[in-house]
């Protein structure tokens, strides 16, 4: 059994906690959160040990792995402390707020040679995984443009108050929403973003942070595309992420439920007819050990646990990859300030 402890029990923390609790190879030994009500609930209703001091938790329970699901500004000290104490680390996104913090964490994970993973769950959604495979196989030929989008109803009126409205705490649409799209573009297109241009990050309702991000992204392989992200959009029920890639032999349209591929010529080996072809999430979704909010969250946790069990790095969502996404977030903010 892999002994796991978790720091931070917000919405994501709670969800990780339940999935870990259900994983057949995991013993969830401890949680750490400053909230009094949560503390009593866990003490009264579960067998999980409760702490308010994460250092004490790690020292006393000696977990094999730690989930860091606290606000981003606290990641660096927690992640480094866990690594120094011999723990593998899963960290939620956004990974880091500054270049310095990000680099310290990436270096520490290398130095202590521990499994490290960041919570970009889209990489475990069947449609996006299949899109990546199709891109690698060159099914749409040479790509010449992409469009990455995400919309959702997070901030719909002027009101401050939570960490999402605090730039220094890792709030803002660029951190919360755009990060997912940037990470996904890197993954599906198979090349990191190296430059951004013409960035606009308007505040629509928020006083301190951006509510939308629009920009041009340039990948290392030369491919260019657009980013369009807004979290003040109540035309959708929940966060909706999509990617469109245009190539000289066809087009790909992907969201979390559907993959559509248009090919100019029939591809018998792939079972693709000339023109439109569609694949839906039921056929692209694996059966998981436990399902709380979608298979991707279970797959993400299972990936981390299997890496630890097999003492291997599978290089999916590593600190290093997440750090690249953070660097692009910083580049977007800088570009927007200069523009």
């Amino acid at each position: 059994m892999i002994k796991v402890a978790i720091i931070g029990l917000g919405k994501m923390g709670m969800s990780h906690c339940a999935i870990l609790g259900a994983h057949p190879d995991v013993e969830l030994v401890a949680m750490c959160d400053p909230d009094g009500l949560l503390q009593s609930a866990f003490k009264k209703l579960t067998k999980i040990a409760c702490y308010t001091d994460y250092k004490r938790m790690i020292e006393e329970t000696k977990p094999d792995a730690v989930y860091v699901v606290a606000p981003t500004k606290l990641h660096e000290e927690m992640v480094v402390y866990a690594l120094e104490h011999g723990c593998h680390v899963f960290c939620e996104k956004p990974f880091s707020l500054t270049e310095k913090d990000g680099k310290i964490m990436v270096d520490a994970a290398k130095k202590y040679n521990k499994v490290n993973q960041v919570g970009y769950h889209n990489r475990f959604i069947g449609t996006f995984v299949e899109a990546k495979r199709m891109m690698d196989a060159g099914l749409i030929g040479k790509p010449f443009h992409f469009m990455g989008e995400a919309y959702g109803p997070v901030v719909l009126k002027s009101k401050g108050g939570t960490w999402r409205s605090d730039k220094r705490a890792g709030g803002g649409c660029v951190m919360d929403y755009a990060a997912h799209v940037l990470n996904l573009v890197n993954f599906v297109c198979g090349s990191p973003i190296v430059k951004v241009a013409g960035t606009s990050m308007p505040s629509i309702f928020s006083a301190e942070v951006d509510d939308a991000v629009y920009s041009t992204l340039i990948l290392e392989n030369g491919l260019k595309g657009q980013l369009s992200v807004c979290w003040s959009d109540d035309t959708v029920r929940k966060m909706t992420t999509s990617l469109k890639i245009e190539g000289d032999k066809g087009n790909l349209f992907i969201d979390a439920t559907t993959l559509k591929i248009y090919v100019k010529e029939e591809n018998k080996a792939e079972g693709l007819e000339k023109g439109w072809n569609e694949k839906y999430i039921p056929e692209l979704t694996p059966i998981v050990f436990f399902n709380l909010r979608g298979e991707e969250y279970s797959e993400e946790t299972d990936h981390f646990i299997q890496c630890i069990k097999q003492q291997k790095m599978f290089h999916c969502n590593t600190f290093e990859e997440a750090f690249k996404t953070d660097q692009i977030i910083n580049a977007l903010m800088e570009d927007s300030n200069n523009g």
Binding site: C17, A41, P282, E283, F289
Partner: protein, 293 residues
């Protein structure tokens, strides 16, 4: 429970297959009357049970229904609580205590109230009762023979190991509402085992059951084993069409081969679809029974 039950996802833009269809549905059901029209159609087809989330708009529909009590006297509701997005958004905006303050009737910070005492004592079962009452308010005067806990809560509490709350939920629903407790889950075999362990007798458990194993955690074989077993539980099937990946004939054919399944839940909006699903379920269940004899 009726064999055939109409669900509500189609009314609220929930579509597991396509974000595009989800938007189209949200447009079609913008007006409350358009939802009631579908309930009327279902009634004409002989479908009298409506399983619905405790969404704010259901309160509007019930207000319309109350204007015509004679017409809807046979209509049964299976409320599913809570409408999780409402609480998730509230927790993001108001924090946990703020959310409790907003949704528990009375003032949790007033020490003399039931809510206040429960809050001060960190009495979670009582806080849960107060939240249940708040969610059930909109169903005042309606027939609610089964009251479900949504999968997001069931599976969260199950993962966390907060077993005591399930026992308390089941007892409270029976005693206060004179109804059967129901549990929606994405992890049916695990839930059946847990209820057995906790002594929750013959629980109603609603889960995805379909030919391709979509949203059937663990494995389809394990689900089938439980559906063929003599384990004490009352299964209800949902997502039989695997979000549209299966055609109705093969989808219902698969589900109806298990006589243990008491009810089949599906979402549809047109008369043709509702009638087709209902006829298929009844006809295929009867055929399966005949074969067994």
């Amino acid at each position: 429970m009726d064999k055939v039950i109409l669900g509500d996802n189609q009314f609220f833009g929930v579509n597991h297959l396509s974000d595009e269809r989800s938007r189209a549905q949200a447009v079609r059901f913008k007006e409350d009357q358009s939802i009631l029209d579908v309930l009327n159609t279902a009634k004409d087809c002989g479908v009298n049970t409506f399983m619905c989330t405790t969404h704010d708009r259901i309160a509007n529909i019930i207000a319309l229904i109350k204007k015509n009590p004679e017409k809807y006297k046979d209509l049964k509701f299976h409320p599913c609580m809570p409408y999780a997005h409402k609480y998730a958004n509230a927790v993001t905006e108001l924090g946990i205590v703020g959310t409790l303050k907003a949704y528990i009737p009375g003032n949790i910070l007033a020490v003399a109230s039931k809510a206040g005492i429960a809050y001060v004592r960190k009495d979670f079962p009582t806080l849960m009762e107060l939240l249940i009452d708040a969610e059930m308010k909109m169903f005042d005067g309606m027939n609610t023979p089964v009251i479900f806990l949504q999968n997001v809560i069931v599976d969260l509490l199950m993962g966390l190991g907060m077993d005591e709350l399930f026992v308390h939920y089941a007892e409270y629903i029976k005693n206060k509402y004179n109804a059967e407790p129901g549990f929606i889950t994405m992890n049916m075999p695990r839930m059946v085992d847990m209820c057995e362990r906790l002594g929750i007798k013959n629980p109603i458990i609603c889960s995805s059951i379909n030919k391709i194993g979509f949203r059937m955690s663990g494995s389809i074989e394990e689900y089938e084993e439980y559906l063929r077993s003599d384990k004490e539980f009352r299964p209800m099937a949902m997502q039989c069409l695997a979000a549209g990946a299966l055609n109705p004939q093969e989808a219902m054919g698969y589900v109806c081969q298990f006589p243990k399944i008491e009810s089949v839940l599906f979402g549809a909006s047109s008369k043709a679809h509702i009638q087709q699903n209902k006829d298929l379920i009844e006809q295929l269940s009867a055929e399966a029974l005949k074969k067994m004899k």
